[in-house]
Subunit: 256 residues, 2 copies
């Protein structure tokens, strides 16, 4: 019995998130991954994911693991699984890890990216891939980046993020550490918020993205973020940005 | 009667190119645009496009024009057409132009972009959007960019591009001027070839992209481009890169 780690990229548009659901007709990434392992090895395994994701959320380097008796060499799994996966889910890498490695429980930190753009119309090439913020920012692009990054600096650090949490999460505490949060311009009026932390509350990244967009469009001042955090009240933060702009970018693990 | 110019962005994945076809069941961008104008104005117009495009090719700023008696203010057409267009085609801008303006015949230059990436597996987020070149380049990224741009420099200028032309085009001459061609890194192992010229022969940009990829993977030397051009023989150039990596980026017109 070996513990195999796989790293996936997936386009979440067609899926109701990572987690397998009782109703087998609901497409999930986990069910697709487990079906591919079954078709390759004949084994009914549970593929443990590093994170739940909401419907429509994408992943660029999503870590998962599963136990197998298969004789496929660990570093070959990524190629061997390929014919059994749909076009919108691919395994990029595979290796063997210690028996006690678990994609969710062994995690050290996670990095998300949130893509958004400004414009008066939806851009066909960015549909299902980035959030259109309709309010054009009243400031120049350089100024926008500075303002947004000032807002991000108040997010960084260890805080009680109750104000940035949707109801319904299973987390026991609402304290999290954000190691880094910043915004870069990545294309014509397209921006990317990148945020790395030891963990995130339910919808936390999407609420942070909605709040930062509110700073850019002038609804909030960067300083307001500090007061939002202190208030521990979801009502004071910005809107929840839609799922299709969110990407799980990568995960890091304690030495294994 | 007014002549309206519109600028569109479209995801070409679901279309058999721009040009309307005899068989109405074949989806084309032109047919979709004409249908939207009809539903808005009640007029059966011909929407003239700036260029034919192959099936699967995308456009970021595609210029078209049509004559109308409609009283919709010219600069409002882009919003007015929106409800009648599918998600993968949007009009970004509209204005009135002189009666003799024609999106194809009045053109001064066109700029295309070709996106490609290196990797051993297809990337779900880039499917239908960029070409995967499976051979990993044997050189560092910096070296790759320098080599590719040297190859591009031989493309620039006025040349007989017979070697970079698929059979079946309607062009009367095979001489074209390329004003600029260069390659930039735009993401993790993702590259963009941008090429601007007074016109392009049938499949010319895709053959140039396939040839430049051949230089990067070591099949050709940058200098070989010069000999390919001189030979005026399609067999000496590289492969035709697939359509889904190609984007009509923009067009420029003589002063109107």
């Amino acid at each position: 019995m070996r513990n195999i780690r796989i790293i996936l990229e997936f386009d979440g548009t067609g899926y109701s998130g990572w987690m397998r659901q009782g109703n087998k007709k609901i497409p999930t990434v986990q069910a697709a991954a487990e079906s591919a392992v079954y078709r390759l090895t004949g084994e009914h395994v549970t593929v443990n994911g590093c994170s739940r994701t909401d419907a429509g959320v994408h992943a660029l380097n999503y870590t998962a693991n599963f136990m197998t008796c298969s004789t496929v060499p660990p570093e070959r799994f990524y190629r061997a699984l390929d014919p059994f996966l749909p076009d919108d889910i691919k395994v990029k890498y595979s290796d063997e890890v210690p028996r006690d490695f678990h994609a969710a429980f062994s995690i050290k930190n996670k990095t998300y990216r949130y893509y958004f753009y400004y414009g008066e119309y939806d851009r066909p090439m960015l549909r299902n891939r980035a959030w259109r913020v309709s309010a054009r920012p009243p400031v120049s692009e350089d100024r926008l980046i500075v303002t947004a990054n000032t807002a991000c600096s108040f997010i960084t650090g260890r805080h009680d993020f109750s104000s940035f949490k949707a109801s319904g999460g299973l987390a026991k505490t609402t304290e999290r550490t954000v190691y880094n949060a910043d915004i870069k311009r990545v294309g014509e009026s397209v921006y990317c918020l990148e945020i790395c932390g030891d963990g995130f509350l339910y919808n936390m990244v999407r609420i942070i993205a909605g709040t930062v967009a509110g700073v850019i469009s002038g609804r909030f001042q960067p300083d307001d973020i500090k007061h939002m955090i202190d208030s521990k009240n979801r009502k004071n933060a910005g809107i929840t940005a839609p799922p299709h702009g969110l990407y799980l970018y990568k995960t890091e693990y304690t030495d294994i």
